[in-house]
């Protein structure tokens, strides 16, 4: 193209290379954890076996549940129920305690009683927050790093298109039998192009989801500084008044819920169900009951409807639905969350996520390979990138496997220097991850193959431990309707197989007798 000068292409190459090297590991971690988060509910059920309930379609009575909550919850300003669904068969229940701490529980839908849960953060409590913020909570720094990585990914995708000279001519080209450098670049180009719409949508929608965090000044300035008004108008949030101090019994929450769903269904034209039931200022005259359809099952758009009722009287205070452009934004965000009921898409997202991991990993691998002959033994920078790449790619995957194994092995009441069981599982993750960096720093290229073998072993071990320590393994699970466990075990085994194949290819490549004989070129 006449307009793309060599200088422009070089500049794009420079940007692509530098952003890729500096932020590649962060992007891989975010993509990896995001891929896992797609199946967070299934991972939760695998790691917290007490929640392996087969979903019952019967409606839950929230009045009945509220009658059974503990006294501390009864006095709470903030009680939240998450309506059970097929992928979340237990009722989510959390409330703000007297000391401002949050108490998190899963309730058995049959009895309303809390399930005696294995103390584990599992998918929703670890993988998901890791994806959002790398578990770096201080001043939201983690969110900003992830946000920067998302922005960088968009820049990388666009710059990558400019660098790749023969996109059309080489669109379908993949030469796995060529030299490692060529094959790696081919795979990088291939994985990037095949999933390009998806890789563009994910960081874009991810940044949009946290728009209030990333562009607070812009939003508040548009609303003359009134952030509450911004939230109310754009998301349906309701600013709840403080407790009045006068007690008043709560009217029927179930009746309010039915009314909310009737209103929403009339507006939408199809049945709309609540996902969130929230009671604020419980027991007070200023009690408020708040319903939201956070994750509709049959639509991409998320969180379009909010209904707020006065607690004691059951009178509707506010019925919110997203305005048109807000709904477009919510569609994009819903496309990121992927909580709707569409299993083929869910599996495609999973493949897309893994493809993104391949794209990022091969990008970094290509950087290493193209400098290997020059710098491998001469440059500290090269060694640093090499160790970070290995630890950041195979290392984080291995650490994930270790996390799952620890979940199956740690006894229920495990504590160590004040850290509870859930915290200990996380410790195992961090320690193993750190270990892989050290392993990579010392053993360099050989670490790849060894860590891949370890991943394969971890996957198989996790599945065997599940069979040994719980009552459902993947053979019995599919029969008894515990689809989540079956999926998880099968994916673990498939992952183990893939890791083993990769390990074999990697160890063959570093074989001093040379690579397998090249086949006739394309």
């Amino acid at each position: 193209m006449a307009r793309i000068t060599p200088d422009f292409r070089h500049a794009m190459h420079w940007a692509h290379t530098w952003l890729g090297v500096v932020l590649g590991i962060v992007m891989f971690a975010v993509f990896w954890m995001g891929t896992l988060t797609i199946f967070a509910p299934e991972i939760d059920q695998w790691m917290i076996p007490e929640t392996r309930i087969v979903h019952d379609e019967r409606d839950v009575s929230y009045d009945h549940l509220l009658a059974q909550i503990p006294p501390e919850a009864r006095a709470s300003d903030y009680i939240n129920f998450v309506v059970p669904s097929e992928r979340h068969p237990a009722i989510g229940f959390f409330y703000q305690g007297a000391d401002d701490t949050f108490h998190d529980n899963a309730l058995d839908p049959a009895t309303g009683q809390p399930l005696e849960q294995t103390d584990s953060l599992a998918g929703s409590g670890f993988f998901y927050p890791f994806h959002l913020s790398l578990m770096i909570e201080w001043q939201n720094l983690g969110y900003w790093i992830v946000g920067l990585a998302a922005l960088a990914m968009l820049i990388l995708l666009v710059s990558g298109l400019f660098i790749h000279r023969k996109i059309i001519a080489e669109f379908f080209v993949f030469r796995p039998h060529r030299k490692a450098r060529r094959a790696t670049l081919d795979l990088h180009n291939l994985s990037s192009l095949i999933g390009l719409p998806f890789y563009f949508l994910m960081p874009f929608s991810g940044l949009l989801i946290f728009a209030f965090l990333y562009l607070p000044w812009g939003i508040s300035e548009a609303f003359d500084g009134d952030m509450d008004a911004a939230y109310a108008e754009m998301t349906g949030d309701y600013a709840v008044p403080a407790r009045s101090g006068r007690t008043a019994p709560l009217a029927s929450v179930d009746a309010m819920k039915r009314k909310a769903e009737a209103l929403w269904s009339a507006e939408e034209g199809v049945p709309v169900k609540t996902n969130l039931v929230r009671v604020l200022n419980h027991g007070d005259a200023n009690a408020v009951v708040y319903f939201r359809n956070t994750f509709p099952d049959d639509r991409v758009v998320l969180s379009e409807y909010v209904a707020v009722f006065d607690g004691p009287s059951g009178r509707l205070i506010r019925n919110f639905s997203l305005p048109p452009i807000g709904e477009a934004s919510a569609w994009i965000q819903g496309a990121h969350f992927m909580q709707f009921g569409h299993w083929p898409l869910r599996w495609l997202y999973f493949l897309g996520g893994l493809g993104g991991c391949v794209m990022i990993a091969t990008g970094m691998l290509f950087w290493l390979r193209s400098r290997e002959s020059r710098l491998a033994n001469a440059s500290l920078g090269y060694r640093v990138v090499e160790a970070l790449t290995i630890g950041g790619v195979s290392g984080i995957i291995l650490a994930t496997g270790a996390f799952l194994i620890a979940n199956r092995l740690l006894p229920a009441d495990a504590t160590m220097v004040g850290t509870g069981r859930a915290g200990l599982e996380i410790r195992v993750f961090w320690l193993v991850w750190l270990g892989t960096y050290l392993h990579a720093a010392i053993l360099r290229e050989r670490a790849w193959g060894q860590q891949c073998w370890a991943i394969a072993a971890a996957g198989v071990t996790a599945v065997m431990l599940n069979a040994a320590t719980t009552s459902n393994n993947f053979l019995t699970a599919s029969w008894s309707g515990h689809r989540a466990v079956a999926i998880m075990d099968i994916v673990l085994l498939a992952g183990a197989g893939l890791a083993a194949c990769t390990a074999m290819r990697l160890t063959a490549r570093t074989d001093p007798l040379g690579a397998p004989a090249a086949l006739p070129a394309e």
């Binding site: 669109f171 993949f174 095949i194 719409p197 898409l345």
Partner: protein, 101 residues
């Protein structure tokens, strides 16, 4: 059913588009010829058909998410065949050459 049809349409579309490129045609047919000129429009036509089928089955909202991913899968299948065993497409190429040439 419609989804399978959409996947088949998308895959055949990608295969046709790939064959319409000189390098792949020559790898498949092991000759120095080129694909008939109708192959490329036919490929695009199949891609378009897959979009129609997806939207018919899923609606525009899910379709907008599903279709690009379906194309990705089709492209991946095409690349795999071309990389691992291009000869698989030899009979398809012969058919296209006979009909279009």
């Amino acid at each position: 059913m419609l989804t399978i049809a959409a996947l088949l349409a998308a895959t055949s579309g990608c295969l046709l588009l790939a064959l319409s490129q000189r390098r792949h045609w020559q790898a498949v047919t092991r000759t120095a010829s080129r694909a008939p000129s109708s192959v490329r429009p036919a490929g695009w036509g199949m891609i378009g058909a897959s979009l129609v089928l997806v939207v018919m089955r899923e609606g525009t909202s899910f379709g907008a998410l599903l279709w690009p991913m379906l194309i990705g899968v089709s492209a991946l299948i095409t690349v795999a065949i071309l990389a691992l065993n291009p000869a698989l497409l030899a009979s398809l190429a012969k058919l296209l050459a006979d009909r279009g040439g």
